[in-house]
């Protein structure tokens, strides 16, 4: 388990801090706003009200001992840049900074961010892919038209085997392939042709958007 400091507890920073903690890591969460600090008190390892643009404060909090830092400050691009510079000065090895624009992102990288993230932009792209795949719970893009969709099993297949449902095991890179079946807490990778679908199965399907739609698009 690692130690991460998350600075800026908006929705992005809060969710990152909570998820990291749930994944078993130690998380220090910092924000100027007392209510946000209170919301995470007892929810992550340590929540602190502080101004992250103050170098003395960062040192007093022992931030220089962390290997990982996330600068999740959003709107205040100046503050996010300053905090990133300070973290670089403290020689934090991995600094991930949230960017509000391409220019802001480029600036952050130049002054020391190891990586920049664009949650709003990524969210827009994900939604565009998910929108027309009814029942698609998630989409992982591989190429601009080929991806992996996580979908609820169409009712028409329940009780039938993969083979009878039309899914062969051929390594056909132009067809649709069921890479895995998620069944309650289990994940069945590369399921056998004779595996029968059960109600509530979640399928991981690899294929082009139009083919996946054809598989699941006529459900319900």
């Amino acid at each position: 388990s690692r130690q991460i400091v998350v600075i800026g507890l908006g929705r992005f920073g809060t969710r990152a801090a909570m998820t990291l903690y749930q994944l078993g890591h130690d998380v220090m969460a910092i924000d100027l706003d007392d209510r946000k600090v209170q919301a995470l008190t007892g929810v992550v390892t340590h929540a602190v009200k502080a101004d992250a643009t103050d170098e003395v404060t960062l040192k007093e909090l022992g931030v220089d001992n962390f290997q990982y830092a996330i600068v999740a400050i959003g709107r205040n691009t100046e503050a996010s840049i300053m905090v990133t510079v300070l973290l670089r000065d403290l020689e934090i090895p991995v600094i991930v900074s949230r960017a509000q624009s391409e220019l802001h992102g480029e600036t952050l990288k130049r002054i020391g961010a190891s990586k920049t993230v664009f949650p709003e932009k990524d969210g827009g792209a994900s939604l565009a892919h998910d929108l027309f795949l009814p029942g698609v719970e998630q989409y992982l893009e591989l190429t601009s038209s080929f991806g992996i969709s996580r979908v609820q099993v169409p009712i028409k297949y329940v009780g039938h085997s993969l083979k009878d449902s039309g899914f062969s095991n051929a390594r056909d890179k132009y067809g649709v392939v069921i890479l895995a079946i998620q069944r309650r807490d289990d994940v069945i990778l590369n399921p056998d042709e004779d595996e029968k679908f059960i109600n509530d199965d979640i399928l991981l399907i690899a294929g082009t958007d139009d083919r996946v739609v054809r598989v699941i698009g006529t459900q319900s």
Copy 2:
């Protein structure tokens, strides 16, 4: 190809509109801000400067003819609610509205949003999963500890077959399985054990976080 109206051209709405257009759909993009409308002119089917809280304007634009609408207005929760209500009145079948909080999301659903999205929150969760998988370009969560990671092929495997690199074809749901290899514009699904890795291959690996880390964590 479908017809979608996207209202609100912040980073989220702009990326959703552009991606939908690139996926081959017809997209009408609406915003109050002329610069944002200009930025999308010629980039999507039709970009219009308008106040989406005005019902007469929506009708004049023919928004009632669309089957899909995305309300991508961010900060102004009141406007996003009003626009969602109006779209519902116009009987748009599928309305996806961006939410700023759980309460805002619940409100949107009650007044007619078919689906709500939380890009900042989702971005925080994604980052938390990607952070410690170096070289992981993307992560699709299946269960809280098991997912599909999209990673650059570790240098040590280049030139070796899957089998020689330690990846067997067994349907072992507790082991790591290489579900696909992305090679330039091609995707090789369920690669054969004798397939050799090439420089720049991108691997789709299914497994628990700790096992995936063990596979790729000692690269470079």
